[in-house]
Structure formats: C-alpha cells, structure tokens
C-alpha cells in the first residue's frame, strides 16, 4: 500500500496555495496556530502556518472524533426527532503529532469494533490526518517507550517532515495516497537525498527520547491489583479530570438528557474515571468508593486491560497528563515502579 508511492515534496512557500486548494475542494482545514506559548489546532481560513517546530498541541485532537459534548438525538415533549444528526463535514487535520495520530488509531479499536460507533465512525471517515513528524520532542515525551515513535504512521493518512525549505509528504494510508494524488500538481516527487534526510531526522528525534522500561507492565499491573502500589499516587491525586481530559486515548463518556421546557436532547459528553460519580450506582453502592480504586482503574485500563482486550497499551507517551497535573503526579513513576 503506502510503500508503493514515493514521498512527495513541496516548497514551503507553496503551502498557502496548497491549503487554498484543499479548502476549495470542500475540506475544512485545521492546523497549528500559536497563541502565546501554546499551540492549538485551529481552523485555517487562508494563510496556513509554515512552522512545524512546536512541541505538541495543548489539547489532543480527540475532540475532533469524540467531542467533549455531542448530540446523540433530539426530542420535543417526550418524542424523539429522527433527523436530528447531520452529516459530518470533510476535515483535514494538519500538523498533529504521530503520538496523537496513534491515539486515534487506538481509539479506532474501541469505537470501530462491532457494533461500530455511529458518531465516531462518521467523523473518522470524513477526516484526513496529516501528521507532522515530531523532530523536537519535549522532556515529558516518551512515545518510544509505549510502542510509538516520533515518525510513526499509525492512524495517519500522510506523514509530513519539515526539511527546512521544503516539506516532505509521505503517504501513510491508501486514503492519504489518494489525497496526495488529488493535489499532485502542487507537489513533486521527493529526491533520494530528501528521503534519506527524512530518515536521519526521524532517527535523531527518536534518539533524543528517554526510554523507560515497560516490559511486562500489563502482567505486573494485573498482579498488583491488590498491592500497595496505588497508595502513593492516589493519596496525592486531587480527583480532578485533567489527566483524562488531556489524554488523547481516554475515551470514557457519559450519556445524559437535558431539557429546556419542551425541547430536549441526549448528549454524549466526556467523563472521567477520576470522578466518584463515574461508577456510582443509583442504589448508592459504589464499586470504586475511593480515589485509590479510581486511580488504579485509570492505570489498569491503560496498561493492563487494554493490552488484554486490544493487544496495545492505551498510552502514547504524549506527556500531557504529566505536564498538566496540578500535583505533579507523574505517570512514568507509577508505571515503572
């Protein structure tokens, strides 16, 4: 598949034009926009960014596939309206990091598995992911320890490399290949030199990442269910939802109804295993009564249950939970203990 097509290249100066064509072709284009020190994935109307030298987006792109809040159906006075959900618009996400693309690939395993998740699939099918290889990883990054890499292609349709004056566009899926073909007049075939430069950049980036040893973490955690491993992290955990909301693979959600007078809707919203209400039964019984069980659940889900159910760790090493935790609860410490 992807190997069949040689990478394409485009002069950075021509990127605005390409962006214009993408938009003209009916896609909504989202790319990196700097806002103070933060980089966010923002809709681009005309002048696209030329700079891919940021660490990573403040928030992961999971909101594009599993929005924090989305309407499942609408109703009026106790009756459901059938045609409440509109079709998705075509989107292109430009410049997300390979770790976040890998997270989408991991979420696919949950949401595309039978019975497929209607809303997720709709968004996934209409979105092209152009990842930008991560050439300057941050200190909290550890993707290579959890199965990813700064130039990994899982989940991406196209992988982009910033070669200085030019960008290299490497198709990573048939969909990506098709996409590149549609705009082939804007790009040219990459030279051998460019391809080798790409490989060198990928290697350099990978070598800058600190490796942590996670061999057998799934089995270790499975055995440690009743151990005191969870005491220290859960003691200082405040029970907020930052780690789960910032996590690109955390996908637990809530379904609730809300009404204003006659009109109502059923919403699917992000939820967090850090909250006591997450598992509270209507009877008052709670199988996870304290923060210890809740913290344990988060780690078990990512590093043990997911391995059992999907064969993969549900962590991509983006480091957002570490960076944003208000009490500096460092996931790396827990998983290597």
């Amino acid at each position: 598949m992807a190997e069949d097509m040689t990478p394409r290249t485009i002069d950075k100066r021509k990127l605005p034009e390409l962006a214009g064509l993408i938009i003209a072709a009916g896609h909504r284009l989202y790319g990196p926009v700097r806002n103070g020190g933060e980089v966010t994935l923002t809709e681009i109307a005309e002048k696209p960014p030329l700079d891919f030298a940021y660490g990573n987006f403040k928030m992961s792109p999971k909101n594009f596939f599993l929005p924090q809040s989305e309407v499942i159906c609408r109703f009026c006075g106790g009756d459901m309206l059938k045609d409440a959900v509109s079709a998705e618009e075509k989107k292109v996400l430009l410049g997300i990091r390979p770790c976040d693309a890998r997270a989408v690939w991991l979420m696919d395993k949950v949401f595309l598995e039978e019975p497929g998740d209607f809303y997720y699939k709709q968004k996934r099918d209409s979105t092209i992911l152009i990842s930008a290889a991560c050439l300057s990883p941050e200190t909290t990054c550890f993707c290579t320890s959890v199965g990813g890499s700064p130039a990994g292609t899982e989940g991406s349709d196209i992988l982009l490399f910033d070669l200085g004056k030019a960008l290299l566009l490497d198709p990573a899926s048939p969909r990506g290949e098709d996409f590149l073909n549609r705009f082939s007049e804007m790009t040219s075939e990459a030279s051998k030199k460019q391809v080798s430069q790409k490989e060198q950049l990928a290697q350099e980036a990978a070598s800058r990442l600190k490796k942590i040893s996670l061999d057998g973490v799934a089995e270790k955690f499975a055995r440690a269910f009743d151990s005191d491993l969870w005491a220290a992290p859960s003691q200082k955990c405040l029970g907020c939802g930052i780690c789960t909301y910032f996590c690109p693979t955390c996908h637990c959600f809530d379904v609730t109804d809300e009404t204003v007078r006659e009109k109502g809707r059923r919403l699917r919203t992000w939820d967090s295993c850090m909250y006591p209400l997450f598992t509270l039964h209507a009877s008052g019984h709670n199988p996870r009564p304290s923060q210890k069980e809740r913290v344990r659940q988060r780690f078990m889900h990512k590093f043990s249950y997911s391995v059992q159910n999907h064969g993969e760790l549900f962590c991509v090493g983006c480091g957002r939970c570490i960076k944003n935790c208000p009490v500096n609860l460092d996931l790396r410490e827990v998983i290597t203990r």
Binding site: V110, P115, D226, C252, A282, H285
Partner: protein, 284 residues
C-alpha cells in the same frame, strides 16, 4: 445488539407501555408491559433470557433493565423496575399508553445451550428475580422443557409483600414441571410458607450438583453466602452462573464505566460464570 452494521446503536426504538403492574407492598417495584410501535423493530428485537435493554425516557435519560419476559411470550416485553434514580422514578410515574424508548437487546444471555440435558437450579433473591423469571418462563415452554431435566427454583425476598410475580409463583408451586421453593426472611401473620435466607434454604433443599447448572441472581450479600454453599454442594465454578449489575451508559462496551477487570458487564456480561469471576478483581 442485532445484525445490521449500519444501524446507529445509540438510537432507541419507540415502545408503548401497555400495562403497569405493581409488584410489591412497598409499591416501588412495577412491571411494565411494552409493545414496539413498529413491527420491524419488534422483529429485530431477538433476545434470550438474561439479556437487558436500555429503557429510555426522553428528557430524563436511560436506564439498563433486565428483560423479565421470555422470548416465548410473543408480542410484548416485560420489564420489572424498581424506583431508584431519575429515570426509574419518572418511569414509575407513567400512565399506561405512554411511549418510551427501548434500546437492545444488550449483553450476553444465560447459557441456554449449556442447560441442554442438565438439571437446572435457579436461585434468586429480592427484586433481582426478573431475568430469572424470563429464564423459568423460557424453560417451561414445552419445546424447551423437554430439553432439560429437573428444574428447581429457590426464590426469596425480605418479606411476603416484597415477593414479585406472586401469581406466577403460585402457579409454579403447583406445577409438575418445576420444583419451586419460595422463602421470606421474615414472614407475617398470614404467611404459611418457608422462612429463612436463600442460602439457608439452598442448604436445606440441597439440589444435586450432578449434571447440573446453577443460575444465581440477587443482592451482593446473598451472592456472598450462596457461592460457598453451591461449591459445597459440588457445583463446579464453571457451572455456577451469575448475573451482575453495574452503572452503565452505552451498553455496548464503549463508554468504559462498567468494567470488572478487563471485562465489560454490558457486553461481556451481565452473565458470568463463577469461574470467570474468580479470575477478575472483586471490584463490583
């Protein structure tokens, strides 16, 4: 969830409440008889005892409820619901004729295939008897009854008033096809039946574990004492089947809240063997 891959699994089918029966003296358990408005929906809803559905009240939310009717009872569904939270309270305030949503069937049923040629022991406690009622109805259908051997049922509730399906209990107690033991924790003046907790009665009745399978559903405290009793009677862990409860939302293994270990109660359960439970963390 059935077939059709393109169907949106989150959208409920509309169904009308045809009849509401108050089941207990406290009046907080009611049975709702539902019929789908759409014939296609009715046909698509193929289920077996032990499965559940999300009952949907628009504007209030959804609640996962075990299906109390048997697939052998055609044309309607029964759900026995205790008034606890927002959705169930609103449902309890319904009048006959109201249209609500039904999403399902969800989860795995009791292993009806595994009961073939076996003695079946059914042990239920309190209001958790609903899917066991479905099972008994199902097994008592002539075409199924001949496929199993003895059918024994022990069912208990806190008090005589709290026994549900009273008419049927009477009917079954008089039936040749099922050996029915009904017990209450504490009787009243008019109670002439058994008194005692379910596990105690189980010990007295002592059904043979030979070529037998036990289905258990009840409150946690009953389960706690019933399991050792069954093991003591010689039931192997893989022949003890239990149905569990968890807070649920999606019902299809996506929303991530009803897991016990790596298994989701909504899609891998709610029916588990005791053997499975032993290999899972006791987080339920």
């Amino acid at each position: 969830m059935n077939g059709d891959g393109n169907r949106n699994p989150y959208i409920p089918f509309p169904a009308k409440i045809e009849k509401i029966t108050i089941e207990n003296a406290d009046r907080d358990i009611k049975t709702f008889k539902l019929a789908f408005l759409d014939e296609g929906h009715r046909r698509a809803f193929q289920y077996l005892p032990g499965q559940f559905a999300e009952l949907s009240i628009f504007g209030k939310g959804e609640s996962p409820i075990g299906i109390a009717s048997s697939p052998t009872e055609e044309g309607y569904l029964l759900f026995t619901v205790k008034k606890v939270g927002v959705v169930t309270s609103d449902l309890h305030n319904s009048e006959e004729g109201r249209v609500i949503g039904v999403r399902g069937p969800l989860g795995k049923p009791y292993p009806v295939e595994a009961m073939e040629g076996k003695n079946v022991v059914i042990i239920g406690g309190g209001f958790a008897f609903t899917t066991l009622r479905s099972t008994i109805r199902y097994l008592l259908a002539p075409e199924n009854r001949r496929r199993i051997k003895n059918l024994t049922c022990i069912y208990g509730a806190r008090s005589p008033g709290e026994l549900i399906y009273k008419e049927e209990l009477k009917e079954w107690q008089g039936s040749e096809d099922i050996e029915m033991y009904v017990t209450v924790d504490k009787g009243d003046e008019s109670w002439t039946g058994r008194e005692g907790f379910v596990p105690t009665v189980l010990k007295e009745v002592a059904p043979s574990s030979e070529n037998a399978i036990a289905l258990v559903c009840g409150p946690p405290i009953m389960l706690k004492f019933t399991f050792p009793m069954l093991l003591g009677l010689g039931f192997p862990p893989e022949m003890i089947v239990v149905s569990l409860e968890m807070r649920m939302k999606c019902g299809i293994g996506k929303c991530g809240r009803c897991n016990i270990g790596n298994l989701y109660v909504c899609k891998d359960g709610p029916v588990f063997t005791y053997q499975q439970l032993q290999s899972l963390p006791a987080e339920y």
